[in-house]
Amino acid sequence: MNIFGSGVFQGMMVTLKNFLTSYFRKPDEGGIFTVQYPEEREKAIENFRNFPFLVYDGSPEQIRCVACGICERECPPKCIHIEMALDVVGKPARKPTVFDIDYGLCMNCGICEEVCPFDSIFMDHAFEVTAPERQISLVRPKKALLKSNEYFQKIRPTLAAVIDQKRKTAEEKKKAAIQPPATSESK
């Protein structure tokens, strides 16, 4: 039968062990695992999703988004607003003039990334999103959302590789589709 004080004594031994190991052990075997945030940072996890951003290839004009509005419809909290651009004749040019996301509403659920057929909207890693005052609105206009494809490859290497691969094969298929009719005509 255990003596009256043994449970209490065991408890104290556990805290003593933790006190001593905190000096000698490495972080995950009982050492100190706190990261001094502003100076040191945690290793960035690739699949982490925060607020969405728009991708462009080369210069901001070649934005991938064609303003089809699927993500606007599918977004659960309805925080995306898109307006189609009209070209000089008045016909809808497949480019958005206005594309703003209300960061105040967005709950970074990642549904817009799933439903986008043109791989133009992805989830970002930047979580230090702040505003100087409470009152100014957190709606991000298009120019704030645009980020280059290189940035996308930097934060999401595996996903970017898959997407680029898919787009390159789609390009060849389209070019090949244009070529054969041309060759058939030339005959």
């Binding site: 408890g11 805290t15 003593l16 190991t21 100190i32």
Partner: protein, 389 residues
């Protein structure tokens, strides 16, 4: 070598004597007496708060390390300036007095709690010849003054007209009273063996045998020390007896309605109590400033420091007692143990050491067994958990 050690040992006493004789040349005699009183007074007045500030830092650092995280390390290297930052914060915080509170008593309570905490410093023997006032009823004075702290807690909880603080106040008073009696009785064996109440005489009684004459190395010393230390943690409301300011139940107990400097005073009183109680525990059972070759005041501060670390260790480990367990533990467990402890001292005094040791272990075994049997509620029940599919 020994001369240098002697010099370091009595450095403070010599410094004061030097100042006094310096002043003695051109000041009348009675002013010199007044000056000597003010010097020791000023030393205590600045020693107390400084000890309190660095105890808070020590506590946060140690508890951090127990929980595998750093303590405060942003303000100054290793967080050494953190207490100063806390102090400034406490000064600048707004001092809110509840609307229908009893203004006068609300203000008086924090002052009335710091005074006894400081008064106990008079009797603590910091080193050879460094007890501030060598009262011949030193220990009784200590127990009397530590029994006054109940009043300011009542004043604080009653004046802030808040239900939580009223409950906290009632709980504190009940706890302090019921832990005062085992504490006083735990001190009795030490007084009997050193035949004097003066703290200096107690320390001198433990001299010799290069450290083996400390009271803790006797059967009744160990039991007395454990009981005294438990009662000390209960007396200054530290976990596992920190019921009065139980965050989870009573928000902050009797000092819920205090903010700013008044809250700092409550806080300071608690930590100074912790320091002095550990000091007295070291004096009574660990041979005060007795020690082989280090200066005496270093020995005293070392022992008190270790005891305070044990108190902080308690804080990091134990859940809190409930009110009735607290009372039952004091009245039904500690009190009978202290009476048996006095029996052990008699055994120690009148029989040879060896017989005393065996006799006391026997008596202790039987009494612990019966006490545990009597207090069924303290012993955890055996439970079996069937694993059904």
């Amino acid at each position: 070598m020994t001369k240098i050690l002697e010099f370091i040992d009595s450095i403070f006493v010599a410094a004061k004597a030097w100042i006094l004789c310096l002043l003695g040349h051109f000041l009348p005699a009675w002013i010199v007496v007044l000056v000597s009183i003010t010097i020791s007074g000023v030393v205590i007045l600045c020693l107390g708060p400084v000890i309190m500030m660095y105890l808070t830092l020590l506590e946060r650092k140690l508890i951090g390390r127990i929980q595998n995280r750093y303590g405060p390390n942003r303000v100054g290297i290793w967080g050494l300036l953190q207490p100063i930052a806390d102090g400034i914060k406490m000064f600048t915080k707004e001092d809110i007095v509840p609307a229908n509170a009893d203004k006068v008593i609300h203000l008086l309570a924090p002052i009335a709690i710091v005074v006894p905490a400081l008064m106990i410093f008079l009797v603590v023997p910091f080193g050879k010849g460094m007890t501030t006032v060598n009262l011949n009823i030193g220990l009784l004075y200590f127990i009397a003054v530590s029994s006054i702290t109940i009043l300011p807690i009542f004043m604080g909880s009653w004046a802030s007209r808040n239900k939580y603080s009223l409950l906290g106040g009632m709980r504190t008073a009940a706890q302090m009273i019921s832990y005062e009696i085992p504490m006083t009785l735990a001190v009795v064996p030490a007084i009997m063996m050193s035949q004097s109440l003066a703290t200096n005489a107690i320390v001198l009684a433990q001299a010799g045998g290069h450290g083996l004459n400390w009271f803790i190395f006797t059967p009744w010393g160990i039991v007395g020390f454990i009981i005294f230390f438990l009662c000390a943690t209960a007396e200054c409301n530290r976990p596992p007896f920190d019921l009065p300011e139980a965050e989870s139940e009573l928000v902050a107990g009797f000092h819920t309605e205090y903010s700013g400097m008044k809250f700092a005073l409550f806080y300071m009183a608690e930590y100074m109590n912790a320091f002095t109680l550990c000091g007295i525990a070291a004096t009574l059972f660990l041979g005060g400033w007795q020690g082989p070759f280090l200066p005496s005041w270093l020995w005293f501060f070392g022992k008190t420091f270790i005891l305070i670390c044990v108190m902080i260790w308690f804080r990091g480990t134990f859940p809190r007692f409930r009110v009735d367990h607290l009372m039952a533990f004091a009245w039904k467990f500690l009190l009978p143990l202290t009476l048996i402890n006095i029996l052990l001292t008699a055994l120690w005094q009148f029989t040879s050491n060896l017989a005393a040791w065996c006799g006391s272990i026997l008596v202790l075994g039987i009494s612990l067994w019966t006490l545990v049997k009597l207090n069924r509620t303290f012993v955890p029940e055996k439970r079996h958990y069937p694993l059904e599919s």
